[in-house]
Amino acid sequence: MNRQWWKILCVILLVYTVVLGLLGPVPALRQLQETIRNLYFHVCMWFGMMILFTISVIQSIKYLRSLDLNHDIRAKEYASTGILLGLLGYVTGAIWASYTWADPNNPAYASFGSIVREPKLIGAAMALLIYFAYFVLRSSITDIDKKARVSAVYNIFAYAMLFPSIWIIPRLLPSLHPGREGNPALNFNDIDARMRMVFYPAVIGWTLLGVWITSLKIRLSLLKEKKWLNA
């Protein structure tokens, strides 16, 4: 029971997020109107993704220090859940964009074209591509120990190179996406106090859910690994 408290916390926070996120008060901005509620879902996905990728890198560093394959499995599973959250971030972003960016007077492909050219979306796609490449690299090495070592090295190297891309590209190119001058929603001034009451718990809740999913996947692949090793 003692070790399960965070799962209960996760459920409570997510119920709180969904209920207050859909019913709570929000500022009525001219362009966003009620779509601003998507902040509790869309932005949290990207926060969760970055946190999970960070955990994955920490596990990779731990693997290189100990050469214990458990850490390698953790690094892999955290990265794959991170990709899942990233894809969900795209889906929620697409819903948001279809209400705020898409122009009903234009044909759908014109709106689509202008949305895919958005630099922030390309930046996010690159982060996901790096982790897709991580999985391609893993699958192209057959030896387990070698796979773990080489992919851990790539994970650390790519993560270190990813940060410049997150900090630089948004400041380099013009963009419709909010948060040009920094990282959206991290800044205390650009988010309403009432929304902050839901937003921060939402980030924690969604991240905990990601960790929960990952912990199940880790247990599953540990079982598989054991079966494989004993066979």
């Binding site: 290189l64 690159m126 982060a127 591509l129 790096i130 490449a133 391609v136 690299l137 192209s140 090495i141 070698k146 070592r149 080489v150 851990a152 090295v153 790539y154 650390i156 190297f157 790519a158 270190a160 190179m161 990813l162 410049p164 891309s165 630089i168 590209i169 380099l172 190119l173």
Partner: protein
């Protein structure tokens, strides 16, 4: 002191191999020349923005081609031999130095051919040359490490592109942006030196990471 002399010996070995085989140089020369012929025949002289973008894309592919060889040429047996006579840090430093030299030469060839065929749209050529060398060195550093990673896997050459492209895009964008200063585009005060410093810091970071991470790739 001994470390330094070992690095230099390894570096000299790569250089001598290159001088005897002249493999990388002619291969990349052919590669660049045919690319630029096609570009020239397809569109002749272009506006500076296209020129700039094409230059950096060519630079990227030249770098992949030139640097990829550095680890892929080493057979398993030879790696084992190096393993017994040198330290991984010395080995990777020698590779980094060699690739930097190789990329500097390729950069010169690329630049000369571009100027000859595609014209010179820059307003400050010296500045552009400086930026292109800075960028070329940065690219060679990143791809040295990626070649080391890819050499451990199957289908190495194509894997290097998959691993490398998402990582290199930000740096490349920064370079494309920075080189516009040589086309007389105006920047805000201090931005240019900031970006140059950022690139230099990034390069140093890559060297440090390579030195830390390469020993883990080394043991098989």
């Amino acid at each position: 002191m001994q470390t330094l002399s070992r690095i230099l010996t390894l570096f000299r070995k790569d250089w001598m191999l290159e001088m005897r085989q002249q493999y990388a140089f002619y291969r990349v020369l052919l590669y660049v020349a045919s690319t630029i012929f096609v570009l020239y025949l397809a569109m002749g002289e272009t506006n500076y923005e296209t020129w700039n973008a094409l230059f950096w894309v060519t630079q990227l592919f030249v770098c992949i081609n030139a640097v990829a060889k550095s680890f892929l040429q080493e057979s398993r047996g030879r790696m084992l031999y190096f393993f017994t006579i040198s330290h991984p840090v010395e080995f990777v430093m020698a590779k980094i130095l060699y690739n930097m030299l190789l990329m500097t030469i390729m950069n010169t060839v690329n630049l000369l051919l571009y100027l000859a065929f595609m014209g010179d749209p820059t307003s400050n050529l010296l500045q552009f040359i400086g930026i292109s060398y800075l960028g070329g060195l940065g690219l060679s550093l990143v791809f040295t490490m990626l070649a080391a990673i890819a050499s451990k896997a199957m289908q190495q050459a194509s894997l290097m592109a998959i691993l490398g492209f998402p990582i290199i895009i930000p740096q490349l964008l920064l370079l494309v942006r920075l080189s516009k200063v040589a086309f007389a585009e105006t920047f805000r005060e201090g931005v240019v030196s900031q970006v140059v410093l950022l690139l230099v810091a990034l390069d140093l970071g890559i060297v440090v990471l390579s030195v830390i991470l390469f020993p883990f790739l080394w043991k098989d």
